[in-house]
Structure formats: C-alpha cells, structure tokens
C-alpha cells in the first residue's frame, strides 16, 4: 500500500499552514480546559454530574482512545491546550513570530531526562491514584491545573515544549501508540534537507519557530515524538514536508530498541488489565484497596500494581523469549547488548495489543456512562442549570448489544496485529516470533476473561 500525500491538496495544506484555524481550535480547547478546572474546583463533588469528570474522563478520553490515537496518532497533541500559555510566553506572541530572541531561560533539558522515563513515572503516579482521580472532581481540577502550571513553569526554564516531550503522562503513551497510526508527517526528499542551510525547521526563522518537540524533521522516521504542531511546514523554505496517509503501523516495521519505550508498552498493557479487573470486575475488596489511598490495603495494591508492570509482565516476556539465561543466548551468539535490544524490539509487538486493550476497556465504561455527557453539558457545575435543555436526561447505558462483539473484535484484531508485528520484529533479530505470539495470546485471553 502506498502513501497518499494529504498536503498535496491545497485545501488541506493551507488549512495546516495557516495559523488561524489552529488558533481557533486552540482558543476553544484552552477555554474548555480552564472551565474544566473551574468546574472541578467549585462544582458539585458528585463526579457524574460535574463537567470536569464527565468531559475529561468520559468524553475526552473516549475521543482520545477510540478516535484520535488509532486514526491520528499524536493528533490530540496537535490541539492540546496545556503547552499553549507557556509557549506563548516563550515566544512573546500568540500568532506571528516576532524577530527577537526568546526572552526566557531556554535551557536544554538535561540529557539524563531526555527519554520517556519521566513520562512512565508520571503516568504510573496517576494510575496508582486513578480511582480517586476518576471519581473526584476537585482532584481532577487540581491535576489539570498542576499540569498547566507545570507546563508553564517548564517553558520558562527550558526550551521548546519540555512538558509535552518529557513529562506529560498522556504524551508518553500517545507517542508510543502513534506508531500504529495511518497518518504521519515526513520530509519528501532527503537530498533537499542535506543541502538546506540553517535548517529552519529545527532552528526557526522569520516565519515560524523551530520544532517545539525538539525533533529534527529531516530525520523523522517514526511518529513517536512528532506532535503534529505543523510549525515545520510553515518554516520549511523548500516545501519539503508533507503529511501523509499511510498503512496502519508502518512505523513498527522498524521496531524501536529503546528500553524506556519497551517498558511503556508493558506499563500500558499491564494497567489496562489491572483497570479491567479492579474497576470493571465484581471484586469489591480490590476497589476498596484502590480507592482508599493511604491505607495499608492501598499500599499493598500499589506494590502489586508496580510488581505486575515492572517484574511479572516483563519477566515472563523475557523468560519466554530467552528461556535459559545462558544456553540459548549463547547458541544464538547474542551479546548482552543485543539481548537487551532484542527484548526491546520484540516488545514493540505489544504496542498494537496494548492499544486494543485500552480500546476494549474504554468502550465498556464509555458506552455505559456516555449518557452523562449531555446532562453535564446543560448543568456543568451541578447548580441546577439547564443550558441546553438536557440536564434531566436519565442515565442509560448505550449500544449495549454491540459492546461485547466490539470488544472481541478489538482484542482479537489487536492480537492478529500484534502477531504480525511480532513476526516482523522477530525477523529483524533472527529469533522465532512464536514465544511473543503465545505471550500475546495468553494476555489477550486474560483480558477477554476480565472484560467479557
């Protein structure tokens, strides 16, 4: 399947190049985000009737995991309001770039943090407190505000979008999963970049800023770290950057060998299974343990959570791909470094699987609770308003007859996708894909049992 260059269409290209459409979306998102913080802080403490819970954890999450990530990769990052105030401060402008030097500290993020480990940790922090976060409006309000202020703070110290690239808990997994998306931003002709002077796509120019994501567009081969902000399309003087439609998971044919990304895959796989069991299962004691933060039951839950993610899941994976520590590795004459790289590249098979785990899990609580969305739109703070006449819509699960077939389709589809990815990754490191495929089958069966 070939790539289709979307930016060949003048309509699309101009819409992406012009700052106005993007700004319009930004304003709406930023205003909505700040309203969500307000609603969380002063609105009713009852989550199901508060705009912040309903629009963040039901509406936005549904759009993110069911539409934005699978079909647009980092599409959410393209419109996310969190970096905006900080970025506008950095640039000293909202729309057009003035030609003066940046006014803030503009430090480079230290090398030790230039990976996704901080994002792994920030995601896990939210995950361990998720039962409280998902159900308590003022906690959601505080977390949203904290992310906004963290982004502003980091923008005044570091260059570019430091929060987005290195700290945002959502960005960690969006980036990983964007490798499966059918959209990409790439250069058209490498030779043009080789002979380009100044590389304004990275360093900025009179008409635009250097890549806020600290990515050199000329070297982009994967979606993982490109936030689709379109800045490079504006700055490239040679019109050498395009947005393409492409086959799904094209990036996974060149599997990454980074351990931070490998562990992100395990974090997402594991947390989807744990959420399915704790939140959607019939075991009340697990829910109590997850909710009562600070008690010894929660502490045990947190330890088990982390053990599953860092020890059990990766451990079993490693044992399955390299059954004996000395024998097989030696037989394959893999050096230790190569073994680590093989582990990381084989774990990319878990990326489509993890995405589908999250899709299947999210479908359940989204379809069950989507009816709250219209009610929260009319009475966002629980003050008795009825702005659009929908405030008294009763709770009613939606599309329940398609839920289980949809979950099966997603999970089995994800399994097939992962198995194919495993084949390609295994081919690259010259090992058999079968252990990885069996691992995927076992985890998929577990997830099916937890959800169905």
């Amino acid at each position: 399947m070939a790539k289709i260059e979307l930016t060949r269409s003048p309509l699309i290209k101009n819409a992406l190049k012009s700052r106005y459409p993007q700004l319009a979306v930004f304003v709406v998102m930023l205003v909505g985000y700040i309203f969500a913080i307000l609603a969380g802080l002063i609105g009713t403490p009852v989550g199901s009737h508060n705009f912040s819970i309903v629009f963040v954890w039901i509406a936005w999450w549904a759009i993110l995991i069911l539409v934005a990530v699978p079909f647009f990769g980092r599409g959410w990052c393209a419109v996310c309001p969190i970096p905006l105030p900080g970025e506008w401060l950095q640039r000293g402008a909202v729309l057009s770039p003035p030609d003066k030097r940046p006014k803030w500290l503009n430090l480079r993020v230290p090398k030790i943090f230039r990976n996704i480990w901080l994002q792994n940790i920030s995601f896990l922090l939210l995950a361990l407190f998720s039962s409280v976060l998902l159900t308590t409006p003022n906690i959601t309000g505080i977390v949203l505000a904290a992310m906004l202020f963290a982004a502003i703070g980091l923008s005044t110290v570091f260059e570019r979008r430091a929060f987005c690239r290195y700290l945002c808990p959502v960005g960690g997994f969006i980036g990983l999963y964007s490798q499966t998306a059918p959209i990409e931003l790439r250069i058209k002709d490498k030779q043009v970049c080789v002979s380009c002077e100044g590389k304004p796509c990275y360093n900025g120019s009179q008409v635009g800023y250097g890549c806020p994501w600290d990515v050199f567009p000329g070297g982009l081969t994967k979606n993982t770290y490109c936030g689709l902000c379109m800045e490079c399309i504006r700055t490239c003087p040679h019109d050498n950057i395009a947005v393409n439609l492409r086959p799904f998971s094209a990036d996974l044919s060149k599997p990454s060998t980074r351990m931070d990304e490998a562990f992100k895959a395990f974090i997402m796989l594991g947390s989807a299974m744990i959420y399915a069991g704790v939140l959607l299962g019939p075991w009340g004691s697990l829910k109590d343990a997850a909710y009562n933060v600070g008690t010894s039951a929660w502490f045990i839950y947190a330890v088990i959570f982390l053990a599953i993610i860092f020890i059990i899941l990766p451990g079993i994976f490693r044992l399955m791909i390299f059954p004996s520590p000395t024998g097989r590795d030696a037989a394959l004459s893999l050096s230790k470094g190569a073994g680590v790289r093989a582990f990381a590249s084989l774990s990319t098979a878990l990326i489509p699987l993890g995405l589908m785990f999250w899709v299947a899990f999210s479908l359940s609580f989204v379809l069950t609770n989507a009816s709250y969305i219209l009610a929260a739109l009319s009475d966002p703070l629980g003050l008795g308003w009825n702005l659009f006449g929908t405030a008294n819509i009763a709770w009613q699960p939606m599309l329940t007859s398609i839920l289980t077939p949809a979950q099966t389709l997603a999970l089995v589809g994800g399994l097939i996708w992962s198995a194919r990815t495993a084949q390609k990754a295994a081919g690259e490191v010259k090992v058999s894909p079968i252990p990885v495929i069996v691992y995927c089958f076992l985890t998929t069966s577990l997830m099916l049992w937890l959800l169905l």
Partner: protein, 325 residues
C-alpha cells in the same frame, strides 16, 4: 504589534475571563444548601432563617448519596435530594418558632442525626403551651426494664377477643389503653372467668380497637421508612444497621461516662413478647419522643406529630397480636 496578534490576544483573554468569570459569578449567586452524610457534616448550612407569612425558597443539592428533605411536624411531602442535582422547595410558615428539618432517605448509620433548624420569626400568635407527654404525667421510668413473667403460648387473636369482649365489663377506652401494658391488662382481666389464652385474646382486641386500619397502614409506612433499618423489616431487631450499632457502642457520640448500661445496645426486638407485652404505650411514646439517651435510638419529638407516633406504636404492637383487617 500586528492587528491580528492584538486581536488574538484579546480573544484569548476575553474567552478565559468569560469561561471563568461567568460561572463564578453565577455560582456566588446560587446559594445552595448542601446535603452530606452525617459523618461528613450533614446539612450545610444547618440553620435557616425565615419569616412568618413570607415564602421560603430553598435550593438543596446532595454532595454524595441520595438524601431527602422534610420539615418535622409540618404537613408536607418529603422531597428527594439527589446527588449532583438541585431540588427547589418552597415553604410557608404561619407560626413563628424553631422547626426541625431532617433527612428522609436513609444515608448511613447516622442518618437520623442529619437535622437542622429553621428559625421562623414574626409576631407570635397565641403561644401554645407544650403538651406534657403522657409518660411524664404518669411518672414512668422510660429506661426501667419491663420483662413479663407470663407470655401467651400462641399469638393472641383480636378476632377471638372481640367475640369474648362483647359482654365484658372492661374499660376499652383510649385512656386505659395508653396507660397500661398488655400484661397489666391481662392481669386486670383475671377478675373475669376467662382462660389465660382467652384473656390474651381480649387484650389483643383492646389493642386493635384503639387503632384503625388506616392508622396501622400509616404506622407501617412510618416504620418502614424510619425504623426498619435498625429494628429490622420484620421487627426482630435485626435491621441492616443492628451490627454496626453494637460495634459503635464504645465510640458513641452520646455515651456518658460511667453509664455503661447506657451504651449502644442492639435495637429492640419487637417480636419478643417478654419485652413488648410489658411495654405501656405511653412508655413507647416516651421512648420515641425522647430517644434512647446513648443507646443509638433517635429522638423523634421534633419530627413526628402525636398522631404519627400513636400510629407507629399501634403498628409496633402488631408484631405481637393477630389483628383482623
């Protein structure tokens, strides 16, 4: 700066100020009463001011679970207060005084403690002296045990008792009924030639004749809504909170120092004839009015009207006697 830049900045700032300012403003202009489980604060605020003759408009929301709102001793339908939703209530008062409002949907062990007051001021009409409850004028000790030595072998039948009572020179009046326990009436009937079982039947008839089927139905409804959670849906003292009350004994808010026998007890078993047949209706009225003084039994004096309490009492005795319908 360029015009587009200026305009964009204005748009952003205006948008944010509007998104924050408008809701904040409207929020400050919407005074709500927040209902929470008693353990988390109960009603907030819990004191409301009103004027005689002026309508009082209340907006109440629940911050956690389903609650309800009603004013004690006022003829009003209780209004459900649902989590995240606002209920509008309008009240009118003809007389000044302090009224008690209370929660009407069980919301935890301490649901009955969820009360507040409405202070209604205005020109007082003829002040009504508070009626002295019967147990006070009878000088009854509400906390004295009242176990009886003789109980009937089968449940007494009021139907049978009615037949027997036809020729009987016995006082079946309300005054007698309210001031005597079934056992005392049983004893007073020893002057007749009836067997023990027949005497119990007459006692059952005495009890039945001092109430109506409407009152019993009303009593049953009141019991289900207010008493069953502790005393059990079938009166056996095994309600859903019975165990919690026993456990909460030591940390009771009302435990008095040294009054060990006053600690939380398990709710009374109304199906126990030894206890119930020795209970005088006036004593039960007193218990309901005053509460249990540290036993976890709520005081209902400001909540139920006198008629409601007698209805409830009639229903409670129906666990002991077989009434005809």
């Amino acid at each position: 700066m360029k015009r587009s830049e200026l305009f964009s900045r204005i748009l952003i700032v205006a948008g944010i100020l509007l998104a924050v300012g408008a809701p904040l403003f409207l929020w400050t202009r919407t005074p709500l009463i927040h209902a929470r489980m008693a353990e988390d604060g109960g009603w907030n605020p819990d004191v409301i001011r009103a004027e005689v003759g002026e309508s009082l408009h209340l907006k109440i929301t629940s911050d956690d679970v389903v609650h309800g709102f009603a004013v004690g001793q006022m003829d009003m339908q209780s209004v459900d207060i649902l989590p995240g939703k606002v209920s509008d209530i309008t009240l009118n008062f003809d007389r000044p005084g302090i009224y008690t409002f209370f929660c009407t949907r069980w919301c935890g062990l301490n649901h009955w403690r969820m009360r507040g007051t409405i202070e209604v001021s205005g020109s007082p009409s003829d002040p009504e002296p508070a009626a002295v409850p019967l147990y006070v004028s009878l000088d009854l000790d509400l906390d004295a045990p009242h176990e009886v030595p003789i109980i009937p072998s089968t449940q007494p039948s009021a139907d049978n008792g009615q037949r027997l009572a036809v020729q009987l020179p016995f006082d079946f009046s309300a005054d007698y009924y309210r001031s005597h326990s079934p056992y005392q009436a049983f004893n007073d009937l020893s002057a007749t030639s009836l067997t023990e079982s027949q005497r119990w039947d007459v006692v059952a008839y005495l009890w039945q004749t001092n109430t109506t089927s409407e009152s019993l139905a009303n009593g049953q409804k009141l019991y289900a809504q207010n008493c069953a959670s502790c005393h059990g849906e079938n009166g056996a003292g095994d309600g859903v909170f019975a165990d919690d009350l026993a456990i909460a004994g030591e940390s009771s808010m009302q435990t008095m120092e040294g009054a060990m026998d006053m600690m939380m007890q398990t709710p009374v078993d109304f199906t126990d004839p030894r206890r119930m047949l020795g209970a005088i209706p006036a004593l039960l009225q007193g218990k309901i009015l005053r509460g249990g003084m540290g036993t976890g039994m709520p005081m209902w004096g400001s909540i139920f009207t006198e008629e409601q309490i007698w209805d409830l009492i009639a229903y409670i005795y129906s666990f002991q006697f077989e009434y005809q319908n």
